[in-house]
Amino acid sequence: MSALLSTDEGRKVRWTPGRRVMLAAALLLAVVWVLPLAWALATSFKPEGEATRTPLRWLGSHFTFDAYRKVWEAGDIGRWMFNTAYISVMTTILTVLLCAMAAYGFSRTEFRGRKALYAVVLAGIMVPPQVLMAPLFAEMVQLGLVDTYWGVILPQVAVPAMVFILVKFFDGVPRELEEAAFVDGAGRWRVFWTIVMPLSRPVLAAVGIFTFISTWNNFLWPFLVTTDPGGMTLPVGLVNVQTSYGLRYEQMMASVVIAGLPLLIVFALFQRQIVRGVAHTGLAGQ
């Protein structure tokens, strides 16, 4: 964990009154931010029927995994989790691959129409996918992709903003690194794979993790394009069945915990890359 601490580790902190006030404020705000999640967690371990008993208590009469067991047995949570994981992994791989190749093409190769093509891609940054839901859905019906994995994946993989970020990065990679390999007889494809891609690992990891998070959490598009419960993603499935539990608050919260946990684990593992990813995707537009 020490790598996650700021650079000033080791420096002695002076506890001036100002710093004490800041620390108190930060702790208070941290508690406010954690409380709803803590409450969800506490509720999920209560015995059935106790979540709505007033006055409310943090703990139920006893600690139980009943809600988790019932949710797992009642719903398709395992199936939805597999769907979400499969869709997120495929989308991430394809997005990183297609966008990196395109960015390399725009940054490093010459062909007629390159500038015009790049302008068309850049213009796409302004198009929010949400405004295309009607025509995109009609297209999916015609292509027969409704209720398929590809129907969810394909519209998410060509991200113009990501090409823009990667073009900026590739523009900064010195050409000499590649020229040496060309002189040695390597082809362009080989240079791309063995020199450029490994060099870009940090930025690729950042955009990859960010793509993974947003795909995992995407609601609107999977919600539109899946109608069959077996093909739903976790967020869509949960919302779809919210009433069929008979309004059991403990079970609702157990499923919320199950659905929220995987990304919290991803965050704990990849904190640095995620932080960098947010900074990249958010600020590269400057």
Binding site: P36, W39, L117, L132, L220, L247, V256, Q271
Partner: protein, 307 residues
């Protein structure tokens, strides 16, 4: 990164120069085909759809010209849902930007258990909107036994507020949930910006006798101007696209008072089966987003010149 001169007058053998130029399209083709199929084509075909009276499969309609657009302009639901969207954007943007900045300043200046601040403030952003919606719908905002009412009860109040069912509070509750959920993103953007401010600027200010407050006002905040611009635009564009939380928490109610424009598009196209009309409404909304982006572009160019 090392700056690379654009045109190097190289005396390299012809074969090397040729290698720079070949295969270009091969690299771009996979992306561009997907892009054309799933962004450019729906963008164009949507215009065609908006001129027809098509049902959900895009069949059986007829050409109606601009009828869908004139109808949309006269449809009170378009105006009310557009109004709700803008109202949500106005209400949510300021607290999201200000809170993000405050959280970043706190965690940056404390230089202490950074991971704890990051975890507590950014973690909600990682949760799917479905999870957020259900959490607030079933556990935080129910009247009487919800966590929000309980919190007030601990302070001796027992209001029984209809957080999501009372027209006076529903939009505010959605804003509160959204701030809690998404502020982590702005927090990280500000944190990254703060960390890139060179330390010697502060040391110089301190030598000139500037106190903590003056350093904040005259060093930190001016240097964060660009970041604030970026955060503001990203936030406005994100808030305009609100759909998930509202759909899950209130379904647009009570009495359509929280229904955003995207939900109206969804309802006309997917539950009302009028996909031609839904497309027309989307394009009006798209026009709004383009206007916002262009205004921002204008604005950021001007502030860039003065900086």
């Amino acid at each position: 990164m090392v700056p690379v001169p654009a045109e190097q007058p190289t005396q390299k053998p012809v074969t090397v120069r040729r290698r720079w130029t070949e295969h270009g399209l091969v690299f771009i083709a996979p992306f561009f085909l997907t892009y054309a199929l799933f962004l450019l084509w729906p963008l164009v075909s949507g215009i065609g759809m908006s001129l027809r009276s098509d049902n959900i499969t895009g069949e059986g309609g007829e050409f109606v010209g601009f009828d869908n657009y004139t109808e949309a302009f006269r449809d009170p639901h378009v105006w009310s849902s557009l109004g709700n969207t803008i109202w949500f954007t106005v209400l949510s943007t300021v607290p999201l930007v200000v809170t993000g900045l405050v959280l970043a300043l706190l965690s940056h200046h404390l230089r202490f258990v950074q991971w704890l601040w990051r975890l507590s403030w950014f973690a909600p952003f990682l949760l799917p909107s479905g999870v957020i919606g259900l959490l607030f719908l079933w556990v935080i905002f129910p009247s009487d036994f919800g966590f929000a009412d309980q919190l007030l009860a601990w302070f001796g109040l027992h209001p029984g507020i209809g957080w999501l069912t009372d027209e006076r509070y529903a939009m505010l509750s959605i804003v509160a949930a959204t701030v809690w959920w998404t502020v982590g993103f702005n927090f990280l953007l500000y944190l990254a910006a703060l960390q890139s401010i060179p330390r010697h600027l502060y040391e110089a200010a301190e030598l000139d006798g500037a106190g903590a407050w003056q350093r904040l006002r005259h060093v930190t905040l001016p240097l964060l101007k660009r970041t604030t611009g970026v955060v503001l635009v990203l936030q406005i564009l994100a808030s305009l696209k609100i759909f998930d939380q509202v759909y899950i928490m209130t379904g647009g109610g009570p009495d359509d008072s929280t229904r955003p424009i995207l939900q109206y598009v969804y309802q006309s196209g997917f539950t009302g089966y009028r996909i031609g009309y839904a497309s027309a409404v989307s394009y009006l909304f798209f026009a709004l987003i383009v206007i916002v982006s262009l205004v921002q572009l204008r604005f950021s160019r001007r502030s860039g010149e003065s900086a």
